[in-house]
Symmetry: C2
Subunit: 166 residues, 2 copies
DNA sequence: GCTAGTTAGTTGAACTCTCAGTTATTGAGA
DNA sequence: TCTCAATAACTGAGAGTTCAACTAACTAGC
């Protein structure tokens, strides 16, 4: 192992500040969703993905891939959402190994009920705090990191402007 | 409730990109630490805090506050670290309600063993990907957000340059 | 010195996530 | 056709976090 490339003082402060900011931001979002909708953010995101998919339906593995989740996590999560009646499982026609998750009407209603509070929290926590230049820089930095860490942009650009941030 | 201030297309893409980048980054750091040091990042951070404190000792509640954690979380975490022999609990003199957590020699050794791999991961994942301008912008954005969300900078500026990012 | 309210810390239950192991299915090659 | 590695999904155990409930100790006001 070669010598460690330690962080200098500036880098360390940047790293710690970034960690702190991220934690405050995401913890706040997590708490808001949990309290007002009774959902972890990861589950909310599953609902969003399904709502944006054709027939409100996605294969479990696609759900895992696009959500940056493991299959196992999706499996547990969908099981819970299914208990709530927000998602329904269906067998996959072409590939009998697979199964599909479909957002139910109740699930869509739940999502639409949860969305305003969530979006408001995102706006207040993030966009209200930053100047347009900072928002642009954040976008640039994030895109760079996603390419660096995943090899490509992950969440496909939003197709439906009317959907807002769900 | 007034009308929801939905995110426009640009904002939504910024938000999703930022979420994706953060998740990729922090998941990677979590995984690296878990695999190579057998520690969650939150526990690593507790060790760092203790290592930087006078007498390598902090009160539980100070640990909670500076780590942006709940008392409960610290309590569980210290219990686990104590089992490993990396932290020792001591009663607090002035305030008999309180208790102190002290980093043991074994804990310091463990931290020093874990640090290089962790720092290398942070550097490769974050700093290697960004230009100096992007790093400066990230620092600026993060500081802004921390003030916005916490009311003040949280993690005190690193006091010990030789400590590197531990 | 009492009392009420606050603060410090712990604990257990419920929930989520990860990891490893299992089953069923598919598809490529002998 | 048969075999076997790869894939899709599920499952259960273990670990960490959250939340509410609880004990103990401090503190301000009377």
């Amino acid at each position: 192992m070669t010598d460690t490339r330690w962080l200098d003082d500036d880098e360390q402060q940047t790293w710690r500040s970034f960690m702190t900011a991220s934690r405050l931001l995401f913890d706040g979002i997590e708490r808001q969703l949990q309290q007002e909708a009774g959902l972890p953010h990861a589950y909310y995101e599953i609902l969003v993905r399904l709502s944006e998919a054709p027939q409100r339906t996605l294969r479990m593995s696609d759900l895992a891939t696009t959500s940056l989740s493991s299959r196992s996590r999706i499996s547990h999560a969908v099981a819970r959402l299914e208990e709530n009646g927000w998602v329904r499982r269906k067998p996959c026609e072409h590939d009998k190994r697979g199964s599909l998750a479909e957002l139910t009407d109740a699930g869509l209603a739940g999502l639409e009920a949860a969305a305003p509070g969530h979006v408001e929290t995102v706006r207040r926590s993030l966009f209200d705090a930053l100047s347009p230049e900072q928002v642009a820089a954040l976008r640039d930095i994030s895109d760079t990191l996603v390419v660096h860490l995943a090899g490509e942009p992950v969440w496909p650009a939003a197709g439906d402007p009317a959907a807002g941030e769900r």
